[in-house]
Point group: C2
Chain length 338, copies 2
DNA sequence: GTGAAAGCGCTAACAG
DNA sequence: CTGTTAGCGCTTTCAC
């Protein structure tokens, strides 16, 4: 690996016998260059293997063509699928992506945002289970556009892309209730988080009320956030008396499904289960998990597209975008008639 | 979001009444600054909310404290776990991480590497199933250190971190053979790729030969690379007559496992299956997949650590690092006596 | 259509 | 211990 001295714009200007400005113009596609000189410049660029230095360019133009992605964890299938959508459209618009894992820790989220500001990113996509006040403050003062992907701002002030969590939860809970279950349990993440309490639980609650059921906290479980902790919580949901279960996360859902089956339950005969993220987990499980269908890739893609607009100072027609969700009937629910 | 004009090093120098150089010194922890002036500078920095501009710093110092990660796909659990290891030690050493997905396409890999060079990254971690000649050339001419993570360089010229694929494959094949299977099938990725043919298949082959079996290509399957394609290949492996199966990828393994069970096979009574990556898939499946144990997080972490050394111009004690693997006996193999 | 010149915000000798 | 002086490599007015 020889540290070759890269050619600079100066070198090509010299070689052709024009000024830096002219070279810069052809590199940036400025039309005010005579065709013949453009040719010569291009030839010299090719010959010298000249590659513009993006750092110098960033300093001079105050645009780095780099965006930051702040996410809980790359190894989480839900977030990694969003990230794939982000990355693909970022590349489409010639942006590079700086990724930071935060493990949902507000302190690290704030650090990540500030660090990204330091690196002069042109914009940020934020993903996280909760918009902590400190994070909100960091976002407001970061100086570049930020859009939320698969993450909710209860105040509705920030650009965001999500599905309608209330409606989705309402729908699957209703379906279970329609099937005659006396008790439908709900498994959520941290109940302090708005997305769980104000959105998901709200949808669940409304479905219960519409069906004339009382909301009983005995059927609310909020301590499971991955496969292992799902296994810990599963015995309690099994013993709760519930026969229908709606779950906010696929890893948690497959944990509960496996536990129930390992302990003799027949699915969906004894329990019906619906999960929420439609990741690969819901397909590889046996039986396959019925799920809310979320356009995860699109959520990321649309969020990134919105960010490009914001970075180009073009107004958003919609601040909080809601993408349509579906219900994917697989094998942990009984066949529906309708 | 008010685009606040950030304070520059010049502003704080002015406020305190010292030169840029002094401010730069305290920011960079240079000790040659009187304690009292350091205090004053720090106070001014705090008051102005000064944050060094990393782009300007990068241009002046020729170090961006940013590295690039070139990977097939973030949504692949194997690679995302490596990436998590990379990211954690990168942060530890104050590097940011630019991530690019390539879908294992050499053309995109080359583009990614060149683009990263343009962005003046200080180093690159490369992950991919195959080191294409074009990619190799790009790596050699990129001008910054590159280390391979979970990716093999048959020529042994590039720094890399892997497990011993030959030994691992030899081990699991041998175990199956020891259990008395007449025919052990092997499911690999693209056979044109060295990692499959020269490493994994070589280990499989050696095990067969040591056990006095002939190598028969009827038991070699190379068309499965994800869950869906695994389902496509599964009927053939079921009909092949093999009763032991070694698989190079967990998503593929769970696909085959599910297919076999869905078609009446008892696992591990009728078939024993061993997979290779020990991702979450091997834990959530029923029965749980026995697997080679790979220190995935560590492969990424060690690769990144090596990269930091290279970037600091400190020599590597070992070019091609081999991390230990294990065998994790779960439920798709019969209990072993030893 | 092209060039000259002034930075972008910072680091890094080099003096003193 | 501190200041001066050059740049880093490029974009961007502003003239011509």
């Amino acid at each position: 690996m020889i540290k070759k001295q890269n050619a600079t714009i100066y070198d090509v200007a010299n070689k052709v016998g024009v000024s830096l400005a002219t070279v810069s113009r052809v590199v940036n596609g400025n039309t005010n260059v005579r065709a013949s000189t453009k040719e010569k410049v291009l030839a010299a660029i090719d010959e010298l293997g000249y590659q513009p230095n993006a750092v110098a360019r960033g300093l001079a133009s105050k645009k780095t063509t780099t965006i930051g992605v702040v996410m809980p964890d790359v190894t989480n299938l839900y977030y990694s699928e969003l990230t794939r959508g982000i990355d693909d459209v970022a590349n489409m618009y010639h942006y590079d992506v700086l990724v930071t894992n935060t493990d949902d820790d507000p302190v690290r989220e704030v650090m990540a945002i500030n660090n990204l500001a330091t690196k002069q990113v042109d914009g940020i996509i934020f993903m996280g289970n909760e918009l902590d006040q400190r994070v909100l403050k960091a976002i407001e003062s970061v100086g570049v556009p930020v859009v939320l992907a698969g993450s909710v701002d209860p105040a509705g002030q920030l650009p965001s892309v999500n599905i309608d969590y209330v409606a989705a939860m309402h729908q699957i809970t209703s379906q279970l209730l329609d099937n005659g279950h006396e008790h439908v349990a709900v498994v959520l993440g941290d109940f302090e988080h708005a997305i769980n309490q104000e959105y998901r639980f709200a949808g669940y609650k409304r479905a219960l009320e519409e069906h004339g059921h009382e909301v009983n906290r005995d059927y609310l479980f909020t301590k499971a956030h991955n496969y292992q902790t799902a296994l810990d919580v599963a015995p309690d949901v099994m013993k709760s008396g519930a026969t229908g279960i709606v779950v906010y996360d696929d890893e948690v859902a497959i944990g509960i499904l496996n536990y129930l089956q390992d302990h003799g339950a027949k699915i969906p005969a004894d329990f019906e289960i619906v999960t929420s993220n439609d990741t690969n987990y819901s397909i590889v499980s046996r039986p396959q998990l019925s799920s809310i269908g979320q356009p995860k890739y699109d959520i990321g893609a649309v969020a990134m597209r919105m960010l490009t607009k914001l970075m180009d100072n073009i107004a958003l027609t919609e601040l909080a975008v809601t993408l349509p969700h579906t219900f994917i009937e697989r094998q942990t629910t009984r066949k529906r008639q309708d």
